[in-house]
Symmetry: C2
Subunit: 149 residues, 2 copies
């Protein structure tokens, strides 16, 4: 199996495959006489595993760790749950902040109705005003002297 076929089979760009190899995630395959990489089915499995994890937004460094578990099945699994827990917590945190973001943006969107000049655009006004506010929730405004806890 050459790199292009592997890429086709796994739905991955060839450059990405070479990148995974360089990063130590995918073992360097044998080379055929012409120097082309020659992959076997284990490579396809491993690549699919990596892509599946990436689809779960698991960072490559953690995928690396998971792959080590796959290869050393006698290790204690405690770290696996923790890895997933961490990932889940990250996703939930991001979800929460994205929901807040959606609210902000859609309320912002409502500020502009018909066409007009930028100087009278409610969106722009709101953005400028919000940036002025002391109590702006979204970005970390704070009085450095008054509230130095």
């Amino acid at each position: 199996m050459r790199i292009g076929e592997l890429g086709q089979a796994a739905g991955v760009d060839v450059e990405t495959i070479r990148f995974y190899e360089k990063s130590g995630l995918l073992p360097a395959p044998a080379r055929s006489e012409n120097g082309y990489r020659a992959y076997g089915s284990t490579h396809l499995e491993r690549l699919a595993f990596i892509r599946h994890c990436r689809a779960l937004d698991i960072p490559l460094s953690e995928v690396q760790r998971l792959l080590e578990f796959v290869e050393h099945p006698n290790a204690d699994c405690g770290d696996i749950d923790q890895l997933i827990d961490t990932q889940l917590a990250k996703v939930r945190a991001r979800l929460k902040s994205l929901k807040a973001l959606e609210k902000q943006l859609s309320s912002l969107r409502g500020r502009c109705g018909a066409k007009h000049i930028a100087g009278e655009c409610g969106i722009l006004h709101e953005l400028v005003a919000a940036a002025h506010k002391e109590a702006c929730v979204c970005h970390g405004h704070f009085e450095p002297k008054t509230l130095a806890t």
Copy 2:
């Protein structure tokens, strides 16, 4: 106002401020005799605006465009709504995929109960199995020959 004070006032790291200047988002301020940057209140306003937009996850290139609108208030505002619309669409798309992700991860998490060796961990099994599936939803498996549309 020196760069450190500006950073304090806006809640932004000094390196980030210099980065914004280099990127053309924050105008280069005057320099005092010793070569230190000397900022005024307009810089603080502008910086706050940038941070507010960034908190809305608006990319710097779009923040740049918004700043141009702020400076040319006579321009047509049509592009502003569109910018926000685009941003909103991106956020909603990300929100949708994150929700799916959360579902996957939490179901995955349920696969592992008590402690055991990695070879018997339901999480790991599931990850490996899912990567094998033809119909894996999350990452783009596809039969290149059979379904070549």
